[in-house]
């Protein structure tokens, strides 16, 4: 399998450059997801840059009603990615926030609105970027396990990421993809909702885990660590032996196995 790098590295000076929007959750709780993304992009011949000034998209504050607080955080993104060509994140929810709410959030500040619209235009969730921008659907990975996929609500509904992760998974050799019943039902995360309405949220995630169990899959994969933190936390509490992975982790592990295969 020829990688993007193999096809393109001879094109001197045409190496694609992207900036990583790592998201606060991956930055501080799941840095290995960020690393897997960077290594995959590197493998595909894409140069990755990581602007240090970024913190968080502001969604935890915004969705709780604290707009001013959300803006303070969101500004770090507007500034950090001012000069970026592409901004790639491991989260459909955080990128969805940029797409869906930023323009409105800065409506009273013309300079910030311009930055917000520009950022939304060049922001992509990871699988979206791979499939729709790079045109890569087969990354040359080998992953000999049964896998079920949970589509995150914000990624699929706010950002329209529906088939991209599945296209990538279908082309992984050895991988058995099992449909998740009630896949589009929310896992119950919802940011502060999971804490504020803990009992309701727990009931939701308990149902989600029961559907994951029904599939019999060894691995649960997704494109948002918020949801995976929630489902994984319940899986761990119930003592289930299901491995929970971000798509980037799975693909990177698969690429390594594919190379040595």
């Amino acid at each position: 399998m020829e990688s993007y790098r193999d096809e393109h590295e001879h094109e001197e000076g045409h190496m694609m450059k992207v900036s990583l929007f790592v998201t606060c959750l991956v930055d501080n709780l799941y840095p290995q997801v960020g690393e897997a993304m960077v290594r995959l992009l590197d493998h595909l011949g894409v140069e990755v840059d990581f602007p240090q000034a970024q913190t968080c998209c502001g969604q935890p504050a915004f969705n709780s009603g604290y707009v001013d607080e959300a803006r303070a955080s969101a500004k770090t993104l507007l500034d950090a990615f001012e000069d970026a060509n592409y901004v790639i994140s491991p989260s459909g929810s955080c990128t969805g926030m940029v797409h869906h709410y930023y323009e409105e959030m800065f409506a009273d500040d013309p300079k910030r609105v311009r930055q917000a619209v520009d950022l939304a235009d060049k922001s992509y969730e990871f699988s979206q970027f791979l499939v729709n921008v790079l045109g890569v659907t087969d990354i040359g990975a080998f992953f000999p396990y049964s896998v079920t996929y949970h589509p995150s609500c914000h990624g699929s509904r706010l950002l329209g990421v529906k088939d991209e992760p599945l296209q990538l998974l279908r082309n992984v050799r050895g991988l058995e993809l099992i449909d998740l019943p009630y896949d589009t039902d929310c896992c119950g995360f919802g940011g502060t909702f999971a804490v504020k309405m803990g009992d309701i949220s727990t009931a939701m995630v308990t149902e989600k885990v029961s559907h994951v169990r029904e599939t019999g899959a060894r691995v649960l994969v997704g494109v948002d660590m918020g949801c995976l933190m929630n489902i994984g936390g319940r899986i761990s509490r119930e003592g289930e032996q299901v491995r929970v992975m971000h798509l980037a982790e799975l693909l990177y592990e698969g690429v390594q196995a594919g190379v040595s295969d």
Binding site: Q52, C153, D185, A194, V195
Partner: protein, 493 residues
């Protein structure tokens, strides 16, 4: 926050806890919601171009609401021209009083009702019973709920929370003999009971699915045909209508007649569509001799002109948002503690009733957006829920601890170096709590999370801290790759 449990004031979370322990209720809600979702999928696919229909529906409703003053004047003029009497009510109490006045004038002893959410909004059943007037709900689901002395837990399926067994018991208590859980037996009992009530009733009360401005017609959608009995058999017919329930013309009704039943119950068409224009006139073979239309505001007009909230008036009360809502699925309708449950209720109840009463409802959502996606007239419900939370913050109604927490968020997240410091502190702070690589402790502010789930720990090294070494590792790999015979693939952690 008004429902009392054991004499204590409660919020949506407290009420949910009761529902979450009720396995019968949750199983019944899931069963019906699943069935409706499946039927809706088939009904929308067979129609084709569902998104275009939704767009058209949204345009019609938005246009009507934006020009409500014009269409309301045209509609009421036409109702009066057709012989109907029009009454305006600013709030629930005034609407209820108007109904009472009509009943008093008619010396009514017995009332039959067709399903109406506005009648729930103004609490009319309770008032009638207080005045010794018999009132009978004639929609099967509403009848079940009435016998159980409950309120509807769904906009379209009022008794969604009841299973067959419970219904059989209720009907037996109401005088049914030798009943089984068989649908035919149960509906036969309801039919026989109601037949007498229809023939005896002095007044019929209905809601209004759509009012047609160009003709002054009231349009009712039912599946049981009960609205035809309620509007034709008693001498007097009272229509309760939310002021926004209008359509400019019959041509618009075609769009709604396609959208509403499909979105609500997955039917390609409603079983009965009754169009009532005024009262019975000379030569008519049916119709009530007197028709009264009560137009209810009750907080609706306050939303007009509010750029964000106005779209909530587009709602056609189909209940599709309830059927897909993962929160409603777990807690059912009564936990919302308001007439309108589910996502639409979480928006509508706090805007129709300002103040603290329903202020916690917008928080009973994970903001997953399933409601917005399901809405046949494209109301951005999850955006409206966020907007209501923002209003709540602006009005200073959130708790001090929460405000402090987000003040902390602002300080930490406005500068990467401050965030870095905060994370370092968290890394130290979590040490006492970590067991087997995760946190199970139910102490502190995260107990809502940890009561049902393990929490992850802050990573030993953040990505910010990892970046510099990662970058040089990749560079080394590239250099190796350029050397002859170098191994591709690089180091694996």
């Amino acid at each position: 926050m008004t429902t009392e449990i054991d004499g204590k004031q409660t919020g949506v979370l407290d009420r949910s806890r009761l529902a979450l322990q009720d396995d019968f209720l949750r199983a019944a809600v899931r069963f019906t919601a699943d069935r409706l979702r499946g039927k809706k999928r088939i009904a929308t696919e067979s129609l084709g171009n569902w998104e275009t229909w939704r767009e058209r529906g949204m345009q019609i409703r938005s246009h009507t609401v934006a020009n409500l003053d014009y269409y309301l004047a045209q509609f009421t003029e036409n109702v009066e021209a057709a012989g109907g009497h029009v009454h305006f009510a600013d709030d629930a109490a005034e609407a209820a009083q108007t109904v009472m006045n009509i009943l008093m004038e008619k010396q009514a002893r017995s009332v039959v009702k067709s399903k109406s959410m506005v009648s729930e909004e103004i609490g009319i059943n309770h008032l009638l019973e207080e005045h010794g007037i018999e009132v009978v709900e004639t929609d099967l689901g509403e009848y079940i709920v009435q016998l159980a002395r409950e309120t509807p837990s769904h906009i379209i399926i009022p008794a969604i929370h009841k299973n067959r067994r419970q219904i059989k018991d209720l009907f037996t208590e109401a005088g049914g003999e030798n009943l089984t859980t068989d649908t035919k037996t149960l509906t036969a009992f309801a039919r026989n009971t109601m037949r007498n009530k229809f023939l005896r009733a002095d007044v019929g009360i209905t809601g209004c699915n759509f009012g047609i401005a160009e003709s002054g017609s009231v349009v009712l959608f039912t599946n049981e045909g009960n609205a035809d009995m309620v509007t034709n058999l008693p001498k007097t017919h009272i229509v309760l209508m939310g002021m926004e329930r209008l359509l400019p013309a019959f041509a618009d009704l075609e769009v709604m007649a396609n959208l509403l039943p499909r979105a609500a119950t997955g039917q390609s068409i409603t079983t009965y569509m009754s169009v009532i224009t005024g009262n019975r006139r000379r030569g008519d073979i049916d119709g009530a001799q007197e028709m009264h239309l009560i137009v209810l505001d009750n907080g609706r007009s306050r939303q007009i002109g509010d750029a964000k909230m106005q779209s909530v008036l587009n709602c056609i009360r189909c209940g599709a948002c309830l059927n897909v809502c993962p929160v409603y699925r777990q807690i059912g309708g009564h936990a919302y503690g308001s007439v309108y449950p589910g996502p639409i209720g979480a928006v509508l109840s706090p805007v129709l009733n300002e103040g603290e009463k329903y202020a916690d409802l917008p928080y009973a959502s994970s903001l997953c957006g399933a409601c917005s996606e399901a809405c046949p007239v494209k109301i951005p419900l999850h955006d409206l829920l966020v907007h209501l939370r923002q209003r709540h913050v602006e009005h200073g109604h959130t708790k001090t601890m929460e405000r402090l927490a987000f003040r902390g968020f602002k300080v930490a997240f406005s500068r990467p170096n401050r965030l870095n410091l905060a994370i370092k502190m968290a890394r130290l702070g979590q040490k006492a709590l970590v067991r087997n690589g995760h946190i199970e402790s139910t102490l502190g502010p995260l107990k809502g999370w940890t009561a049902g789930r393990d929490a992850p720990t802050v990573a030993k090294q953040s990505f910010h801290d990892r970046w510099r070494t990662l970058q040089s590792e990749l560079q080394t790999q590239h250099n190796h790759a350029l050397e002859p015979k170098a191994e591709r693939g690089g180091d694996v952690e």
